[in-house]
């Protein structure tokens, strides 16, 4: 969208001024299939213990609710004596479209796989096999951890006793980028989880911050201060071919990529007011992404389906918000910060405050259903979802 004529420019200003402020709870735009914000009723029978709780968790954070068989759209049934057997059928036309037994791995994995098979059968992408990364702070330092998307099986991948920040999965690889104060000042590292090998991507003087791998895993966007001002840069994944994208006096932060790799979205200030912007990844003019209705946007993340940007607004506390990727009126979803889209473009993982520390939670954006992930001790924050 370009504003080449003075009248469209004026009109845009008029519209921007005229936008009414929306309050928490109002719904203007909501992502989701066919715009549905109602959870889909399913009934569950025959599962027990861990299998039942995994199936309930997975379905809740992907937009389903549990009812008796008479009100359900889908009937899920089965057993988990040893291995899991699962069936899914449509209540109306009585057709059974999943009927499988599972072996191997753990009962947990089998339950995730059954939910994924059910979702695939109704044309959806399940989250069962996906991973998250996050930082766990203890006292004055923290370590980067990885876990299943529900928080199960968490393990530390660093043990430096240093401040760490902003872990980000490299798409398509078992590798993370993150910031560590290992050498004193914040540097950006690339960490291959298969080999355990780690190397510096950016260790320039000053602060090297907020790495964001491109969707094809070839490039990294990050925020550096080596030039004497805080600016957005892009480089090859190994740190080579470094290119400065912004030269403003403002403090650019927290870049993310559009799924086609053409744009880098980030937070900055325009005329002393915080705003989201985007810039061509190859360099060029910065454009504002409007987040009307909320203030102080930061920490954007662009959905894999290219439709939405989730971000944190700071209005007293922190609020997880969503806005169309092209900008517009923002919707407040839930209290929390640093949201990141899952590969299904509908569930996000974010951090919320609870008695002086932070816990990770999953949010199904269309229905606003949430579930905390199983936690490890300390304060857990800055999640990234492998996708």
């Amino acid at each position: 969208m370009k504003f080449n004529q003075p009248f469209s420019f004026l009109t845009a200003i008029a519209i921007a001024i005229a936008f009414p402020r929306i309050t928490k709870g109002d719904v203007i735009y909501v992502p989701g299939e066919a715009g549905s914000t109602q959870p889909i009723p399913v009934s569950l029978s025959g599962f027990t213990g861990e299998a039942a709780s995994v199936i309930q968790f997975d379905l809740t954070v992907q937009g389903f609710k549990f009812t008796g068989p008479d009100e359900a759209q889908f009937l899920l049934s089965g057993s988990n004596n040893g291995n899991l057997v699962g069936r899914a059928s449509d209540r109306i036309n009585k057709s059974t479209f999943v009927n499988k037994s599972y072996t191997g791995a753990s009962l947990r994995r089998q339950a995730h796989a059954f939910v994924d098979d059910f979702l695939a059968a109704i044309g959806r992408k399940g989250l069962g096999g996906t991973k998250i990364a996050f930082k766990a702070d203890k006292g004055k330092s923290g370590e980067i951890h990885i876990a299943d998307f529900d928080g199960f099986g968490a393990q530390a991948i660093t043990s430096d006793g240093a401040i760490v920040a902003a872990p980000a999965w490299v798409p398509g690889r078992m590798a993370l980028l993150y910031t560590s104060y290992l050498k004193g000042n914040p540097d950006v590292f690339s960490h291959d989880l298969s080999s355990g090998q780690r190397r510096a991507v950016a260790n320039y003087p000053g602060s090297n911050m907020s790495p964001a791998p491109s969707p094809n895993g070839g490039k990294v966007a990050m925020v550096l201060s080596k030039s004497g001002s805080v600016d957005l840069y892009v480089a090859d994944m190994d740190g080579g071919n470094l290119k400065r994208l912004t030269t403003s006096r403002e403090d650019e932060s927290a870049p993310c990529w559009s799924p086609d790799g053409q744009w880098i979205c980030f937070a900055t200030k325009i005329n002393d007011r915080r705003a989201l912007c985007k810039i061509p990844a190859a360099g060029g003019a910065v454009q504002r992404i409007s987040t009307a209705g909320v203030s102080n946007p930061s920490e954007p993340d662009w959905s894999p389906d290219n439709k939405w940007i989730v971000f944190t607004a700071q209005m007293g506390g922190f609020e997880v918000c969503v806005v169309p990727a092209s900008g517009g009126t923002a919707t407040v979803l839930v209290s929390g910060e640093d949201p990141t889209w899952g590969p299904n473009s509908r569930t996000v993982v974010y951090a919320r405050r609870e008695s002086g520390r932070r816990v990770l939670s999953l949010l199904d954006v269309p229905t606003k259903q949430t579930k905390d992930v199983s936690r490890i001790s300390g304060s857990n924050s800055q999640p990234s979802w492998a996708r």
Binding site: K183, G184, K226, G228, V286
Partner: protein, 196 residues
């Protein structure tokens, strides 16, 4: 009819000109950092989505002083946090501007660096209060440290001996959730570096 349309356009043009240049109140004691973009609209005026707000002007056109390469690995230095602790610089909320009340501290540090005893390297650390998000604060803390560095350079200190780092909100000195605690946490600290 034509005249009134013309008047309308002139009024709009004047209003926009005023918005772009006229209504920005100059705070006292604010350090003017170089690199302000031309063509910005006035304070509080929303920039329409899609409108270029920040045309890229090419690398190193901002007038900032690049950080010295020889102070990259801070683990190679002894860190003295006491020597200049009294000169800690405080900041306003969400701001990296050096206030007039803080100017004497910056001048004292610059004078020290110019003295024979102060012929050492300096690390400026930028810190934030609890209220911003993590990576936003990490960037803001760095900008605070860089603003202190630019002020030191303006006061005659040698920028080739001054480096920076940001802790964002990871090193708060007051954990209370009060305005006074937030104010204490918004700071720039001076660390004297000597080779190990």
């Amino acid at each position: 009819m034509k005249a009134s349309r013309l008047t309308y356009l002139v009024v709009i043009a004047l209003a926009l000109t005023f918005a772009a240049t006229g209504c920005r109140k100059k705070p006292t004691g604010v350090t003017k950092l170089p690199g302000q973009r031309p063509g910005q609209v006035g304070d509080g005026q929303p920039v329409p989505p899609g409108q270029p707000v920040n045309p890229n002007e090419g690398v190193n056109s901002t007038g900032f002083t690049p950080l010295p390469e020889n102070l990259t690995d801070l683990s190679l230095f002894n860190h003295d946090r006491e020597a200049l602790a009294a000169q800690m610089v405080q900041f306003a909320y969400d701001s990296a501007a050096i206030r007039s009340s803080e100017r004497p501290k910056v001048d004292a540090v610059a004078a020290h660096m110019k003295s024979a005893a102060g012929n050492v390297a300096l690390l400026v650390e930028g810190h934030c209060d609890e209220r911003g998000t993590e990576e936003y604060n990490r960037a803001l803390g760095e900008r605070r440290a860089l603003a202190v560095r630019e002020a030191l350079i303006a006061s005659g200190a040698d920028g080739a001996r001054i480096t920076t780092r940001s802790f964002g909100k990871d090193r708060k000195i007051d954990l209370a959730d009060t305005d006074a605690a937030h104010a204490r946490n918004r700071r720039g600290e001076f660390v004297v570096l000597t080779p190990k």
